[in-house]
Symmetry: C2
């Protein structure tokens, strides 16, 4: 978070914790202030509105996810990049478990047009980046070409989202990194070209 003060950072991360543990309905200025240990009015010394705090939440997430996106360009082999992209997601979510609940439920931000647009942009961006690498993988003969790159990206993203969602709903009952690694291997096995 670029220009955020220590206090602003604290407000945003506390907000994330509340959303994760109690749902967005319980992210109230009262609860947020209480969780930090300051008055409601003090919140407004650091943010103009609750909406601004929620935008902070999204920005925080965006920065957190950057490393995963970077993995798409780290190696020469597309398949390796895809694999690392997926695994990095699981690593990030494991290290920031509160985020899973916050992000994979877009309806959290429903009706706040600014937040929805912001989230949609992020989604489209990373989807596009992913599909580019999938196309590379197909061109280089690593992935099968009888399935469209669009549908391959749907399978990959859908699978990731679903296992993270399962993990989140189950209260982190399994090891996301291990289960995710196997899932990732299986997806690639299903999609690679067999000679």
């Amino acid at each position: 978070m670029k220009n955020f003060s220590e206090r602003q950072r604290q407000i945003v991360t506390t907000a994330i914790g509340i959303i994760a543990k109690q749902g967005i309905q319980n992210l109230t200025t009262k609860n947020l202030a209480q969780a930090i240990g300051i008055s409601e009015a003090a919140l407004y010394r650091h943010f103009d509105s609750k909406l601004e705090i929620m935008q902070g939440v999204l920005e925080y997430f965006k920065i957190l996810m950057q490393p995963a996106l970077a993995k798409l360009k780290s190696h020469a082999k597309p398949t390796e990049n895809l694999e690392e992209f997926v695994l990095e997601h699981f690593r990030i979510f494991t290290a920031n478990s509160s985020f899973a609940r916050v992000i994979f439920s877009e309806s959290n931000f429903q009706n706040e047009e600014i937040l929805m647009n912001s989230l949609n942009k992020m989604m489209i961006n990373s989807r596009q980046a992913l599909e580019d690498v999938i196309i590379q993988a197909q061109r280089k003969g690593e992935f099968r070409t009888d399935i469209s790159s669009c549908n391959i990206s749907r399978m990959m993203i859908g699978s990731i989202r679903f296992i993270v969602s399962q993990w989140s709903v189950s209260g982190m009952a399994f090891n996301l990194e291990n289960e995710g690694r196997q899932l990732c291997k299986d997806i690639i096995a299903a999609l690679k070209l067999r000679q």
Copy 2:
């Protein structure tokens, strides 16, 4: 909906429409009563509480989804059953587009334990039924066995959820049945045993 009166049915379907179009935050007793054209107080002649109305929403959905589940046992060939199961989902969502937004965002019901439990049970039920058929498909040599049935079900459900979510977020910008049919074919192509 079993024992529901005409008015109760109307209240529930109107509630679904509001959630779909304006989000759950705007499902207020005021808005709901207004949309129907009766007073708020009149709502309470037909339901004891707002929670009861939301339970009605879930029951409505459950009944609507029954046909998809039935498809899992309609033919002898597991692969055909799986295909019809998936296609039936797309058919149902196309015919009841408001549901997509309501259901695939579990966070809609976050913090209402009764609703969450109800939704989780439905999810687990259909996941289990699906995985059973996947195992059959593997036993009969229709599906590859180098990928666990658990991960196959993750890929299938994840892909379905994701394309429905895309369709919903895009404002039904594409034909879900057609796009979904191709996605379904591709998934099965990726998972079937090749000789």
